[in-house]
């Protein structure tokens, strides 16, 4: 085994076509990494000078995966600017749509994009390999087909309540534009109930109630050994396969976690938040074991290593600009992704961060024991629907009971101001920072989850979260870097959103 330091690009195109990873290797392990978003996005510049409401139509088209999330963030920023509070029913509908998008994303990402890598020929000698191929092989694995079928019927909820599909813009300042009829709400409930049953039977292998009792690492081990159905479910498969290849010891990120909070609790709802604060998903920053309150004032963007005009240190998004400079710093700058920081620090965001901030007993125990590993990070994503589905059902019941209530609070005439729309997308913290001047958008800055997790180095030379997480990853075959793929994919990168418009690979005929 060589101890010589070698630097090479590794092909992770199946992770994202617009993502390039360069690593330095010593002794067959990654000792340094550089993550590069290879395309300029520029949506912020497209927004400048447009009407204030245009963000509701344009930003959902940033990404086909997180369309509703961008819509919600844009609407919340405008709610703030216009000083209007959406009625409880509007909050419920907005939340329901976002949760549908999140749950389908969690399941599709886990089964179609993460577990599929266990069917990689690099794992051919592993005990799980034949089963992994049968279940998760691309295009034909039995579980992959089921995941598409079931998430499709769940997504129909958005078509029902959004009034347009795809790319609905049904959220507006002050609420939503549509009051669904009772039969439509019954259809929504039926879809959630059906999906929940499928999730219990095949993803968990047990009831939600039994799963909620798993409150730590030891309880998880007991649960796994309790019944064959637990081991046969996708959660059980993830734990067994991930454990066999050592994913519980790989992919350690910066060890700091950020949630900006999400899914505001409607007034009068019987649903309680998962932590402190006004949202179902609490906001907070965790460094070590302490949960600190979140303040958007502490967010900054660095561009020292990004292809943008230089600025001193990091700037708050209301002060930051998007001024692309593609030349003059070759060999130094290496990404179109900016480097967001919180309190000047790198942070991880996503379902694991949400769990740690909320004090989820299982996830906090696993992080305490093994750190934020790739396995725990992916587990957090696959089990998040277990938390969301009962709340979705409850909010639909409340919508049915309160159906005669308001869904829209008229907003005052358009006025100038600044607003921040913060939301937890499926992949983590999303923020829209909007400035309206003279009735036009003067500034629009967006920080995406992959911006946080996939950032390049900052002004202090500190690596981004998944650059850090790659350190120590074994890389036996640079042409098939399956372990690096597991680590990167545990963050669920979405470069179409973080760096630019949708990747060219979506066009017919290009290899993905």
């Amino acid at each position: 085994m060589t101890t010589k330091r070698v630097t090479c690009d590794i092909p992770l195109n199946r992770v994202e076509g617009d993502l390039e990873i360069k690593v330095a290797l010593e002794g067959g392990r990654v000792v340094d990494a550089w993550s590069s978003g290879t395309m300029f996005r520029g949506f912020e510049r497209i927004m400048e000078g447009r009407g204030p409401l245009d963000g509701l139509v344009i930003t959902p088209r940033i990404c086909g995966i997180c369309s509703l999330t961008h819509l919600y963030a844009a609407a919340r920023a405008l709610d703030q600017i216009y000083g209007v509070a959406p009625p409880a029913n509007a909050v419920r509908l907005r939340n329901l749509a976002l949760m549908v998008e999140t749950v389908q994303s969690d399941v599709r990402q886990s089964l179609l994009m993460f577990l599929v890598d266990f069917a990689n020929p690099a794992h051919a000698g592993r005990s799980f390999y034949p089963d992994a191929v049968a279940r998760y092989e691309p295009l034909r694995g039995a579980r992959c087909l089921e995941a598409v079928r079931e998430t499709k019927q769940l997504l129909e909820i958005v078509a029902i309540i959004g009034g347009q599909w795809p790319h609905t813009s049904f959220m507006v300042p002050g609420g939503v534009v549509f009051s669904p009829a009772l039969p439509d709400l019954f259809k929504c409930r039926n879809r959630v109930v059906r999906f929940k049953r499928w999730y219990e039977e095949t993803v968990l292998g047990c009831s939600l109630e039994r799963w909620q009792q798993v409150d730590g690492g030891e309880a998880l081990d007991r649960w796994l050994g309790e019944q064959p159905a637990h081991r046969a479910g996708d959660v059980g498969q993830l734990l067994r396969m991930g454990g066999e290849i050592g994913l519980d010891a790989l992919g350690q990120g910066p060890g700091r976690f950020l949630s900006v909070g999400s899914l505001p609790l409607p007034s009068g709802s019987a649903v309680s938040g998962w932590g402190a604060g006004p949202d179902l998903v609490p906001a907070g920053f965790v460094d070590g074991k302490t949960v600190h309150p979140f303040s958007q004032q502490m967010v900054s963007e660095h561009v020292a290593w990004s292809w943008y005009a230089d600025q001193p240190g990091g700037l708050h998004p209301f002060a930051s600009v998007t001024d692309p400079v593609a030349s003059g710093a070759e060999g130094h700058k290496y990404s179109w992704v900016k480097a967001p920081r919180y309190f000047g620090l790198t942070v991880e965001t996503g379902p694991l961060a949400e769990g740690v901030v909320a004090g989820h007993p299982l996830l906090t125990d696993l992080v305490r024991a093994n750190g934020p590993s790739a396995l725990t990070r992916q587990l957090a994503r696959l089990i998040r629907p277990a938390l969301m589905l009962p709340v979705m059902e409850r909010w639909i019941d409340e919508l049915i009971a309160e159906h005669s209530g308001k869904f829209y609070q008229p907003a005052p005439l358009l006025k100038d101001g600044q607003g921040v729309g913060l939301i937890q997308a499926a992949r983590g913290a999303l923020g829209h920072w909007v400035t309206i001047e003279k009735g036009r958008i003067a500034r629009y800055q967006i920080i995406t989850p992959t911006g946080w997790n996939g950032s390049p180095r900052d002004a202090n030379g500190v690596r981004g979260p998944w650059e850090e997480a790659l350190l120590g990853t074994p890389l036996e075959d640079p042409d098939n870097p399956v372990m690096a793929g597991h680590v990167i994919r545990s963050f669920d990168p979405c470069l179409v959103c973080a760096v630019h418009v949708v990747g060219s690979s979506r066009r017919i005929g290009l290899a993905m």
């Binding site: 949506f43 795809p166 017919i508 290009l510």
Partner: protein
């Protein structure tokens, strides 16, 4: 509301010149009367999420940007849905029509619509956009006559 038997689904990204063919054609179709029983859809970046728009139809024409390896700039071609489905690879955030059409018969109950894709390589010229409109209408007319 009943689903129209036939649909023109224009896909792509109107904010990306290399991928805006479908949406530019959508704008052209928006200004002209369509044959009876034909629905025009802005499919945008829907990708796999367009599955539910295919159910209950007999004929779907997709309009999209095609890779330059398949056609020349200005040249309009028609691909059968099965040819496009054969190009599918693993699922990803950027999965497009190949993955959608591959999954259609695997996850949706029959009968499935006949699917075809009309497009050209980017950047699409005005003439090629108009040619796509003509070709799409001819395909729909042929399907009606059949």
């Amino acid at each position: 509301m009943a689903v129209a038997d036939r649909a023109i689904i224009c896909v792509g990204n109107r904010f990306m010149a290399e991928d805006d063919t479908g949406l530019r054609v959508f704008e052209l179709f928006s200004g002209i009367p369509l044959p009876d029983g034909v629905e025009l859809v802005d499919g945008g970046l829907g990708g796999l999420n367009l599955l539910s728009l295919l159910e209950g139809r007999t004929e779907v024409i997709f309009v999209d940007t095609l890779d330059v390896s398949m056609t020349a700039i200005g040249e309009v071609i028609v691909l059968d849905g099965r040819e496009v489905a054969a190009l599918a690879e693993s699922y990803g955030h950027a999965a497009g029509l190949p993955y959608l059409l591959h999954m259609l018969p695997l996850v949706c109950p029959p009968p499935w619509p006949r699917c075809r894709v009309v497009g050209t390589a980017a950047p699409a010229t005005r003439e090629s956009l108009l040619a796509i409109v003509r070709t799409t209408l001819e395909l729909l007319a042929d399907a009606s006559a059949a």
